[in-house]
Amino acid sequence: MNAQTDWKGFLARRSFIELDARERTIALLDAGSFREIVGPFDRLKSPWLPMQGIVAQADDGVVIARGTIDGEPAVVAAIESAYQGGSMGEVSGAKIAGALELALRDNENGIRTRAVLLLETGGVRLQEANLGLAAIAEIHAAIVALRRHVPVVGVIGGMVGCFGGMSLAAALCSYLIVTREARLGMNGPEVIEQEAGIEEIDSSDRALIWSLIGGEQRTRLGMVDALVEDDATQIAKQVRTTFALGIPKAYRCEALDTYLTRIGEVDTSKQLTGVQLATLWGNKGDSK
């Protein structure tokens, strides 16, 4: 929070982070349009967790909601970070991939169903390992196929952030919206510390972690499209503004020359801070 903060607005806001996955989808869809499909009453649970003595939840931690956004047909897939760290298992992964595949089918049939992904996940659910990884590959394939027809908008609200194979999914989206509380990275800081040692990264140093992979830093580097407050109304508004941009002319994940040059410029004999890297890369903002 800086001096320009509108305190009245801040106090009046409705925190997006404090909402659960279902409430987040309701907040994003047009009022009264929310309809959950393959919800808890379908009882499609993980077949693999009970074999390992873990209680399976009836929605496997993913909410798929149909409805409208600005009157246009939409599907919102939201990951519930409170269940198994938002991890992707067979069922939760299939729900997201399947929803995107149906949105693609709609678009191929002339129905412009748009998609929003609420990404709050540590990545693959290790108890379902290879089937989680396979589902994530199918999610990647579906995003790339769908975004040719209609924007796929990713939102990372916080506080878990978006990691593992799902961080690739975030990077494949047409547009990405983040809060300051969000983190976006491939390997979680705890895993890096475990694999590379505390001299590489101190995962308990929250200021350090956010300075490297937090929403504000990702914005400085131009790796996301919009930075928003933790405010459900503002995020819902930003999602609409973003869809109004239409299909992007270029994708960040196709900015091959830009990123090879940028990475080539970096002196890898030392560790840079987030601000140093942003300065080196010229605070370029959006690379699109």
Partner: protein
């Protein structure tokens, strides 16, 4: 094809390098300054294909990406090499150049520099390029000759039309290295191995992976470290057959992975979820 294959040996040896060389019999090229992503164009069946491998690079300027990991440079290099293949396609020619990802990747690079500079974006660039190639009609095959680990496999191989693998020791597919997965799930490596035998998706073993229905074929009786001419011929034959099958069914998405026979039982939940989504859509 001569009987005496020149197998690269020494500290730079890797199955990726061995198989890239054996299958193409060409001098591999690196991309730009990178010595860790190699490619060569060589015949596959009736057409030239592009073969691509990620290999160890002990002198790489990124200290966490020296052992065959997919890091920042590797992700963007893969994207470029695949992109070149797509861009090189001339209009009028109906047949698109096939791409073979020779997969032996120990994982993504775990490091602070990597996170700061966006390894997620680099790996996404590679996955995106492979997916774009597949959607454009380039037949894409992943040939697993060693490790296919986690995010590295997502970047290099998992977007392929078909996945084939050698049935050999140390051919492993998983979401996380065994030691790290044991620590994170609070189990011992032995417990993890035991679980893998009971629960197919938990297994590291290629034969259990084959039960998931994600694999198109498992190539038996091949020495993955030092293939002889017959083994190389056998793998070429499988690749050529796979290429034919991709062309014949003409499908450009990944639906074959849950239409397979094995998937009907092991991935029954993936199929049921899609059925109910369609019913309630």
């Amino acid at each position: 094809m001569s009987d005496a294959l020149t197998i690269p040996t020494g500290p730079h040896a890797s199955r990726g390098r061995v198989w890239l060389h054996a299958l193409t019999e060409r001098e591999e090229q690196g991309f730009g300054q990178s010595h860790s992503v190699l490619f060569a164009d060589a015949p596959l069946g009736d057409i030239d294909a592009r073969f691509i491998a990620v290999v160890p690079d002990p002198a790489n300027r990124f200290p966490r990406a020296r052992q065959g990991e997919v890091g920042l440079e590797q992700g963007w290099a893969l994207a470029n090499i695949v992109r070149q293949t797509i861009d090189a396609h001339r209009g009028g020619d109906e047949r698109r150049r096939p791409i073979v990802a020779v997969v032996d990747v120990v994982g993504q690079a775990y490091g602070r520099r990597e996170e700061l500079m966006g390894i997620h974006l680099a790996c996404a660039a590679a996955a995106n390029a492979y997916a774009q190639a597949r959607l454009a009609g380039h037949p894409v095959i992943a040939l697993i000759v060693g490790h296919a680990m986690s995010g590295a496999f997502l970047a290099h191989g998992y977007q392929a039309n078909r996945i084939v693998a050698l049935d050999a020791p140390d051919v492993l597919i998983h979401a996380m290295g065994q030691a790290a997965a044991a620590r994170i799930t609070r189990r011992t490596v032995e417990q993890l191995a035991e679980l893998g035998n009971r629960i197919p998706p938990m297994s590291y073993d290629i034969r259990n992976y084959a039960k998931l229905g994600l694999l198109d074929s498992l190539i038996e009786g091949v020495d993955a470290d030092a293939p002889d001419a017959a083994a190389v011929q056998q793998v070429r034959k499988v690749l050529a057959g796979t290429l034919d099958s991709i062309r014949q069914d003409g499908v450009r998405d990944l639906s074959a992975r849950y239409r397979s026979k094995e998937a009907q039982t092991t991935r029954a939940a993936s199929i049921e979820v899609r059925k109910r989504l369609a019913e309630q859509w």
